[in-house]
Every structure is written in structure tokens, then in C-alpha cells.
């Protein structure tokens, strides 16, 4: 285990700051970009699903 945990930056019940991610989008078979501001404009729920690494056993 790591010696010191990173502090939780986003607390439950608070606003999530804007962020951007480069993506691969299997539906389009192409690369893309996601911004949180763009997601909010779509007025939908967002689920962020973190995992350690590709080619492992999620």
C-alpha cells in the first residue's frame, strides 16, 4: 500500500470542478474528447468508473 493517501479532492455533496479527458469511443471507433461542462449541458447523470489499467483483469 502507499504510505500516504491522496486526500479526496471532491467531497460527496459538493460540486465537481470542470475536467477534460481524451477518449477512445468504441461506438464511433474513433478518438474523442469529453469535457464535464459539455456533459452538464446534456443534462444527464455521469458515472465515472476508475480502474487500474488496460489489459488487466477488471
Amino acid at each position: 500500500m502507499t504510505e500516504a493517501c491522496e486526500c479526496l479532492g471532491c467531497n460527496v455533496g459538493t460540486a465537481v470542478p470542470d475536467f477534460k479527458l481524451d477518449t477512445f469511443e468504441p461506438l464511433k471507433g474513433d478518438f474523442g474528447e469529453i469535457s464535464f461542462a459539455g456533459l452538464k449541458k446534456k443534462n444527464i447523470w455521469t458515472i465515472l468508473f476508475f480502474y487500474p489499467a488496460d489489459f488487466t483483469f477488471v
Binding site: 504510505e3 460527496v12 455533496g13 465515472l48 480502474y51 488496460d54
Partner: protein, 130 residues
């Protein structure tokens, strides 16, 4: 259900592409696969393991208004229960429309009993849930 799932790891978008095309278990994947190579987003959500350069198994549900409502973080060696994630998402959807209610621990589906906190309910949760 009106939710966008975004998976996030420290891999590049090129590796995401290679993995999704190679691994037959991922043939049905429809959600965008986000790339967080410097762990910036993982740090923002407190799931970055700096020694390993990888993100822990963190799941976060964010409302359409941009508020973080649920957080679940597992260590590397434990998978997540998708039924529980769906339960939380359904409960959030219900609560966003019924703002005075609360979903108890065993709430699993629309139609299950909820609690509406009030003076009368204090000490009477057992009776309210029947």
C-alpha cells in the same frame, strides 16, 4: 436510464483502442474510455496510487447539475458489484424527483418503500418499513 458512463484509467487512448479491439470480453463496450495519463482526474477524486501510477477502483455518481452524490472506492484486488451501482443510480433518479424522501438500505427498485423523515417517523422506522 439517462446516464453517461465514462471509464477512466491512466492508459492512453491508443491503448484503450488496442485493448477494446483485442479483448473479446470488451466487444460490446459502448461507453467512452477516458485517458488520464498523468492521474490528474484520479487525484481530483482521491483514487490515485502514486507508487503504482494507477487508479484504484473508484466509482462516482454525479448529478446532471454537477454534484457528486456517491463515491465508492475499492482497493486493486476487489471488483465492484454492478447491481449495487445500478441500485444507487436508480435511487438517485428516484430521489431527484422525490426530494423529501430517503431511500433506505434495502431499497432496490422503483416501488419499494421509501422513508419521509418527519417528527412522526422518529423511532418508528421499523414500523414504517413494515
Amino acid at each position: 436510464m439517462g446516464a453517461e458512463i465514462i471509464t477512466v484509467s491512466a492508459d492512453t487512448k491508443y491503448v484503450h483502442l488496442a485493448w477494446q479491439r483485442e479483448e473479446r470480453n470488451l466487444a460490446g463496450v459502448k461507453f467512452p474510455m477516458g485517458s488520464d495519463p498523468a492521474g490528474k482526474l484520479a487525484r481530483m477524486f482521491g483514487v490515485y496510487d502514486a507508487d503504482k501510477g494507477m487508479a484504484l477502483r473508484g466509482t462516482f455518481i454525479i448529478s446532471p447539475e454537477g454534484t457528486l452524490l456517491n463515491a465508492e472506492i475499492n482497493y486493486f484486488n476487489m471488483g465492484r458489484n454492478i447491481d449495487e451501482l445500478m441500485r444507487k443510480l436508480k435511487a438517485n433518479l428516484h430521489l431527484s424527483k422525490h426530494t423529501v424522501e430517503a431511500c433506505p438500505a434495502k431499497w432496490t427498485n422503483e416501488g419499494d418503500r421509501t422513508l419521509t423523515p418527519s417528527a412522526k417517523l422518529v423511532g418508528k422506522v421499523h414500523e414504517a418499513l413494515g
